[in-house]
Symmetry: C2
Subunit: 108 residues, 2 copies
């Protein structure tokens, strides 16, 4: 998959993977790999800044856990983040509908 087509959908992916659970950054990357059967392998330089940005936007809340000496910043959705996720899902529906309509559409 063209790496670049993610543009504008990264936030949706991050919010979706945090829906209903708390994860730290590294685990988020692994969860995305798992859910996509290996198709998504986001670099840390993509994910970490995005998480910070989503937190600043109020969609995520983070706290530091220390597990066996390891510091891990775990993220979870805020209520505002839940709404954002719903909005992103709706927008995804619209997006695929529009582009898919053109790609598959008969000559109109």
């Amino acid at each position: 998959m063209k790496a670049d087509s993610l543009r504008g959908h990264l936030d949706a992916l991050l919010l979706a993977v945090l829906d209903g659970r708390k994860l730290h950054g590294y685990a988020i990357i692994e969860a995305l790999q798992l859910r996509s059967d290996g198709a998504l392998d986001l670099p840390t330089g993509t994910v970490y800044p995005a998480l910070r940005r989503l937190e600043r936007a109020g969609f995520l809340a983070s706290e530091w856990d220390v597990v066996s000496g390891r510091k891990r910043r775990t993220y979870k959705l805020t209520r505002s983040g839940q709404k954002a996720l719903a909005a992103e899902r709706a927008e995804w529906q619209e997006f695929t509908s529009v582009i898919g309509g053109v790609l598959g559409g008969s000559t109109a």
Copy 2:
């Protein structure tokens, strides 16, 4: 729709709208509006350079028509462009499948 989410899918749209017919740039923009029920309104500064690029890549062939004094550069798909369109469609399938799977997926 976020204007920006088009990233990486513009070529597919342009190739698709030219599938089976010849159109000139301005008409391409109108055809995309039509097929998307107004959701897509691409600026000329996006479309014209993209058409030139696709022509340089060998996916489109153009010729000048002069209709009632108006010069219009009409584009059509080359054989190579047909293949590119098929590839873009396949990639679109994969893309929506991957992202859709994560967005809709149960906690995995």
